[in-house]
Symmetry: C2
Subunit: 526 residues, 2 copies
Amino acid sequence: MINWKNLDTLRSFEALKREEKVNLASVLAGSEGGKRIKECCVPMAAGMNYYYGAKQVNGRIVEGLKALAAEAQLAEKFRELYEGAVINTGEGRRVLHQLTRGQLGKDVEADGVNKRAFYLEQQKKIAEFAVRVHEGKILNEKGERFTTAVQIGIGGSDLGPRAMYLALENWAEHSGCFRMEARFISNVDPDDAVGVLNAVDLAHSLFILVSKSGTTLETLTNEAFVRNALEKAGLDPSRHMIAVTSETSPLARSSDYLAAFFMDDYIGGRYSSTSAVGGAVLSLAFGPEVFDRFLAGAAETDRLSTNADPQQNAAMMDALIGVYERNVLGYPATAVLPYSQALNRFPAHLQQLDMESNGKSVNRFGEKVSYATGPVIFGEPGTNGQHSFYQLLHQGTDIIPLQFIGFKKNQTGVDVDIQGSSSQQKLCANVAAQMVAFACGKEDENANKRFEGNRPSSIIIGDQLTPEALGALLAHFENKVMFQGFLWNLNSFDQEGVQLGKVLAKKVLAHQTDGALEALSSLLEI
Amino acid sequence: MINWKNLDTLRSFEALKREEKVNLASVLAGSEGGKRIKECCVPMAAGMNYYYGAKQVNGRIVEGLKALAAEAQLAEKFRELYEGAVINTGEGRRVLHQLTRGQLGKDVEADGVNKRAFYLEQQKKIAEFAVRVHEGKILNEKGERFTTAVQIGIGGSDLGPRAMYLALENWAEHSGCFRMEARFISNVDPDDAVGVLNAVDLAHSLFILVSKSGTTLETLTNEAFVRNALEKAGLDPSRHMIAVTSETSPLARSSDYLAAFFMDDYIGGRYSSTSAVGGAVLSLAFGPEVFDRFLAGAAETDRLSTNADPQQNAAMMDALIGVYERNVLGYPATAVLPYSQALNRFPAHLQQLDMESNGKSVNRFGEKVSYATGPVIFGEPGTNGQHSFYQLLHQGTDIIPLQFIGFKKNQTGVDVDIQGSSSQQKLCANVAAQMVAFACGKEDENANKRFEGNRPSSIIIGDQLTPEALGALLAHFENKVMFQGFLWNLNSFDQEGVQLGKVLAKKVLAHQTDGALEALSSLLEI
C-alpha cells in the first residue's frame, strides 16, 4: 500500500533534522579523509561511480536518509510508476519514459497496446529510416544524399536532444561511426531560424519537426519559416521534412512529411530524450547503433534505480542528499559542473528537467506545502566556470551545493603534454582540487584570502563519456528528480506553471489587453 | 570625502527595511497599472529604456533608494573610480575599463602614460591590423586570405567576447558589413580544442591568444595544442597567431606572433570586452567600425551612469532595486532573460561579471560582512526558457527576481506572418505576457493551476540589438555590478576565491598530495 505523504509529516525527516551537522574540513582531514572519499561510493551504470564523501553527511545521517527512503516508500513508488500507475495525477497520465529503453516490471498496457512494444516499434522504424538515409536510399529531389539534420522543437524537444548531440559529436568524429551534422531551431525569435538556415546547405538538409501535440506555437512558426525557405530555394518541403509527434496530432498523418514517428502522452517533454524525440535526430546524426548504446546505458541506470537501498542506488542517494541540503541545511540552489566540454549544454537540460519537474508549491493532492521544493539549478563546464562564477561558490555569502562530473579519459584520445602533464590530467587535477578546496577551505590572516570551506560537493566519475555513459548520466538525473518529487510529495510530471503566460500572450496578439499588459504591449510596439 | 561603509551601517538602509512591502498584483491592477508601467522608466543609452514598474517598489521605496544612493555616495565613488583612484584595494590597482571607451573625468596618468591615450592607441593598432587582414595585406604563407579568427582564452577572455560575437553575428550577416567567422577555444579539456580545430580551415585561420599575464594554464596549453596542429599541417604558427596581453607579459615581445596588442592590470578580465581582449576578435570579425559603434554605446551608458539621481541613471536604479530584493526581501538569485536568441550567451557573461565581482563575504577592508552579497545569476533566452525552468519561477517555493530584455525589431528583418502575427510580434507578446503573469498571478479553484503572483521583474526595451545597443547593455550591467559592490562595501575587482583551487591543482599534478586530495586523484587516475 502506497502512502503519499508530505515530507514534513515523516518521522524520519524530523529525526534527520535533529542530527548533529557535519563539518567537512574535519571529516576530510588526514588519511581518514582519504578513506572516507573512497568508501562513500555508490556504483552506477556504465562503470561509473557516485562519490558523496565531500557531502555533509556521516554514518548517522546516511542511516537517517535510508530510513527516510523507506518511510517515503521511494522504491515502491518507483515500481508503481514503471508498472504504469497514473503517477501524473493532475493530467491523469501514466509516466512511461523508462519503457523507451527497457522494461523493469510487468507489461504496461494502455490505449489497447503494449507500450514497451509500441516504443520499440518506433525505435525500429527510426533506425530503418536512418539507415536508408545513410545508405542513400532516401535522397533529395536531385537524387543527392542528405548531409545535415535540423531539429525544430522547443523545451524538451530541444534542450535534451541538443545536449545529447553536443555530448557525442566529438566522440563520434573520433570513433569512426556514421556522422551527419545536426543543428537545432527552437526560439520563436525569427533570428534563430534565420541564423540556422543561413548556416546549413538547404538542399541537403532533412528537417525534423518535433511537437507532441502538433500545436506548439514556436515549432509551427519555425516550420513555416523553414517551408518558406525551402520553397524559395525551389525545393519541395515534403521531401525535406519528417515529423515526431503523437499519433493523434495533426502532424501524424500528413502527406507534408517524408515520415512520421510517434511518442505519446506518457512521455513528458523533459523526459523524452530516449524516445523518438531524441531518437530521430541522434539516429540520423550518429547511426542507430550509437543510439542503442545510449539507451542501454539509461536502461542499466533504471535497473540500478529499483534498489530500495540508497547505498546501492546512486540516483536515490543523490536525491536524498539533495533534499537534506535543501530542507535541513536550507541551501537555495545547486550547481552542476561537468569537467567535460562535451557536456557544455547538459546543465541547461538538467535545469529544465529539475526546475520544471519540482519547481512547485502544491503537493500531488493540490495542497500547498510548507517546505522548500526544487532549488535553482545552473552550471557550466569546468574548468571554464573556475574562471567565472566559482568566486561566489568559494567565498559568497550563500552556500551552493555542487555536483561535479569527471572522466578519466577524454573523448577523442588526442592530447598534448605540457609541463609534465597532459591536458586531460590538468582537467582532472582541477576537479579534484576544487572539491577539496570547497570542502576544507584554507585559513589566512588576510580575510580576503580566507576560504571557510564546508561547501559540499559530490562527483560522478566515469572512464570516458561514451554513449552508454551519457545514457546512464541522463537517466541518473531523471531518476534523481523523480525520487526528489516523491520525497516532496509533488507531481513531477505536469507543468501548470507555464500555462498562464501562454493565455496572456494570446490576448496580446489578439489585442485584447488593458492596463499593465496593454502598456507593455504598446512599449514593445506589438 | 568618500566614506566606505557597510550597508547595514547606513541609516537609509534601516529606513528602507521599515517601509511597507508592495503587492504587485494590486499596484498593477487596472488603468493605474498601465500608467505605472509607463512612468517607472529610466532612459538608457542607444534609445533603450529600463522599466521597473513590475518591481516591488513604490514612491516611498524609490525615495528610500535615492536616499540610500546618496548616503552610500554612489556617484562620488564612481567618480573616484573613473578618475583613477586605487579602487581595487586588495591588489592595489586602479579600475579603468571605462577609459577603453571614453573619458568621463580628468586625465588618468599611470605607469608614466595617459591611460586613455594608451587604450586608444591599442584600438587604433587593432583597427589597422584588422583592415590589413580584410584587405588582403596580411596573408597566410600561400598568399591567401584569412577567413576565420579563433580566440584562445578563458574566463573574461572568453565569455564576454564570445557573447558579444554571437550577439552580432546575425546582425552583421544582414547589415552588409565585413564578416570573418570567429570561433573560441577555452577549456583545458583537450576535446574543446580538438572540436574547434576539426571545424575550422587551419590554413585560413588566424588565432588570437588572449592572456593578460601570459601565464594562464588553460590558454598556454591550448596554444600548444594549436601550434602542434598548425605544424602538423605544414603551417608556420608565427604567421597564424597574434597575442593580446599586457606589455610586461612573456608573450608581449615574442617573435612567435604576427602582432601583439595590449591591455593592462587596470582592466579586470570580466570587464575587458571593450579593451583589446574583445577588440581584436570583434574588429576582425565585423570590422573596426562596428567595434567603434559598440564602444560608443558603452561610452554613452557610462556618461548616463555618472548621474547621482537613480531616476536618471538606469544602472544605479537597477543596482538599488537588486540590493533591495537581496537584502530587504531576502531573494537568493536573479534570472536574466533576454528575448533575443542573439543574446543566448549574454547571461553566461553576466554570470561571471556579477558572481565573480560580488560573490564575496568580506568588505573592502577585509572584514566579514553580516548581510547577503551577490546572488546566483542564471538565465537563458526567451521564449526557450518558458518551455524549461519558468515553471519554478512561476510556482516554485522561492521567489526569483527577473530581468527581462526585449527589442521591438529583430536583427535580420526577415520574418514570417502566421495566424495574423509575425514571429517578432509573438516574441514580444510573450515577454509582455510573462511580466504580467509573474506580477499579477491568477486565482484558480485548483491550487495546482493557481499563480500567486507578486514575482518581480524589470525589462530593458530597445529598438533593435545593434552594436550600440549591445555596448550599452554591456556597460549597463558592468555599472550595475559596480554600484552594488559600492552598496555592499565590497572590492568588486579582485577574485581571491579562485586562488586556492589553482594551488591545489598544482599539488595534484606534482603528486604532492595526501588524504582526500590523494584519494580523489587516484580515483580520477591522474
